[in-house]
Amino acid sequence: MQTVYYIILVPMVYFAFGVFVAGTAARLISLFRKPKNPSTLEIFPQKGPKFLGALGQTFLLPTVRKHNPLLWVFLMTFHICFLLLIIGHLELLGDFRIFQIWGHEIFLGGGFVGLLLCICLLFFLFRRFVSPNRELSVPEDYYLLVLLFLTMLFGSEMDWARRWFGYGEMLVEDYRDYLMTLWHLRPMLPDAVTTSGHSFMLVLHVFFGNLFLIFFPFSKIMHSFISLPVNKLKRG
């Protein structure tokens, strides 16, 4: 079992991270090297500066708010929480003063960020079982949501155990130690990470996270990078 833990927590992490970075970069380079469309793809009327408008469309999703307010609430919650989650993981790699402008424990949100993310993902998943979203969906849509849900569920469970149930065998410092050794290319697995009662949660969290990173460049999640330039086309 220790070997499986090691493979998931060390070589698979490097592999997943490599595929994510190289794959995403290759996809973006290949996309942006294609020739531009010869004519405008703008729609009218447009108000305000074009780039700011595209930013607003990308990050505030006004069209979803107008046409599907319930989905908008979940989408905004999901994306904001996801951002907080990224900040939380960055804070495991080092101290960023900018993130500590308001003092907080790592991770942000007192456990509720993970909870909200899980709820949002369940909403996204179950709405796909209802027509017409059912007919529009392809297996990729379900797999991605399930993968994200499992990643977040196991990640959050560790947070909930520590914060809400006083579980003290595997602490943020232990994750930090583990990640820092990976970061400095001298991988080591602290005992707390592999032998505590909740180790399997960390291993499953990292396993599903790895799968997600490997899948990322080949999936529709690339919209994280493409959404702004696509919206810019609409604004002219």
Binding site: T40, P45, T63, V64, H67, L136, I226, V230
Partner: protein, 418 residues
């Protein structure tokens, strides 16, 4: 389908994969927000008429042949082979979409379904599955450009026959040539459609404004764009560009045809002349005081249908409203935001296909009928030939009891002497 045909079609497909197209094909998250956007789906709520579903038909072929995911794990994105059956699906998707781009207003990414459908149309052209009528019309337009001398005499005689009617509408400045043709150094080249309705009112207004103008030998409509053939689209457009350059005009004014205007405005590139729609030109004449209109000429409430290719897709929105404010005190908007105006259901070549598509056009546009009826207007005016034909068909089919008019003909009827 044999391998060579498939390879040839895939080359055509690849030729369409510029940056924007790749963005559109890669981005959709199938969130379903566009479900309510399409007039066809709102009138006939089948999943196949949802914009995302239409696009997915093209996207599945894209995944199969142009994405690693489709090659490695085909079932993941339900990628699909290009087969005869796929071509049938592409036909239904492409020719149930009018290219109005209303779905783009709904989509959180702004995915352009019309552009994705241009792949479907091109594959249909490449496999000879496109609507024959549209190809015939496009070929006729191209042939006219190549053999102008053959058509010239008949065209000149036809125009001569119309001149008396122009003089009847506007006598003052008509002079000896109410419809000038082939005038080198004219300020404005007016590109009309085949038919008196597109020439007489326009000529009357241009003469009333004292414009130094000339009529094009060619009709504005671009059937190449309807059928989705970029080569034919360019050939048809180039006839007009060449004529404008030969005559050294400063402005090319496109008649009431949304597609013709958008193609010329957005695809002609950098040219020594500017491109305007006739609606923009009329609004300019009004602003400059070159024409005056009788506000009491029309007594009944008027509503305006924004042709998608002119308004949402080319930005001619304020001008028709400016004109209408000079014609009536009872103008009624169809939609609080013109961006959300429903398509009439006649675009994308559907009207040009005539009786073949009539049943579908009537069934798929009930939502437009409702929108018009809710205004309470008795006159429905528009600035696009396709929309005019479709709205007239809807008027007859649904017994709406409205008068469907071209905006330019209303302007011509309301002209008053300075």
């Amino acid at each position: 389908m044999d391998q060579k045909t498939r390879d040839d079609l895939l080359k055509l497909f690849q030729g369409k994969l510029n940056r924007a197209m790749r963005f559109y094909l890669e981005t959709c998250s199938r969130c379903g927000v566009c479900t309510k956007a399409c007039h066809v789906h709102e009138s006939m709520p089948h999943v196949k008429y949802i914009a995302a579903y239409r696009a997915e038909i093209v996207r599945r072929i894209y995944k199969k042949y142009f994405k690693a995911q489709g090659k490695a794990w085909s079932s993941l994105g339900e990628s699909k082979e290009l087969t005869e059956m796929a071509l049938e699906e592409l036909y239904e998707a492409a020719y149930s979409c009018t290219g109005c781009r209303r779905c783009m207003v709904y989509c959180p990414f702004g995915i352009d379904t019309q552009m994705i459908m241009s792949i479907a149309k091109l594959l249909l052209v490449g496999s000879n599955h496109e609507p024959e009528t549209l190809t015939l019309l496009a070929d006729t337009s191209i042939e006219k450009g190549r053999s102008l001398e053959m058509f010239k005499e008949g065209f000149l005689q036809g125009v001569k026959n119309l001149e008396q009617k122009v003089v009847e509408k506007w006598k003052l400045e008509a002079g000896t040539t109410p419809i000038p043709i082939d005038v080198e150094g004219a300020d404005l080249l007016y590109v009309a459609l085949a038919g008196a309705h597109s020439i007489i009112p326009a000529a009357a207004i241009l003469n009333a404004a004292g414009e130094h103008w000339t009529l094009s030998f060619f009709e504005a409509v671009n059937f190449g764009a309807f059928v989705g053939d970029p080569t034919k689209t360019k050939l048809i457009m180039n006839r007009i560009i060449d004529e404008a350059k030969r005559l050294r005009v400063k402005e090319v004014c496109i008649c009431e045809c949304g597609t013709a205007f958008r193609v010329m405005k957005q695809l002609s590139g950098e040219q020594p002349f500017k491109v305007s729609s006739i609606t923009e030109v009329h609004a300019r004449y009004l602003r400059e005081g070159r024409i005056r209109l009788d506000r009491n000429r029309f007594k009944e409430p008027i509503t305006y249908h924004d042709p998608c290719q002119m308004a949402r897709n080319a930005g001619v929105i304020d001008e028709p409203r400016y004109i209408l404010r000079h014609i009536t005190d009872d103008f009624r908007e169809m939609s609080p935001d013109p961006k959300y105006n429903w398509c009439c259901g006649g675009g994308g070549g559907l009207v040009a296909m005539g009786e073949e598509t009539l049943d579908f056009r009537m069934k798929s546009s009930s939502v437009k009928v409702k929108q018009i009826q809710e205004t309470g207007a008795k006159i429905v005016t528009t600035a696009c030939e396709n929309c005019h034909t479709q709205l007239s068909n809807l008027n007859d089919h649904y017994k709406m009891g409205v008068d469907v008019r071209f905006l330019s003909s209303m302007v011509a009827d309301a002209l008053v002497q300075s």
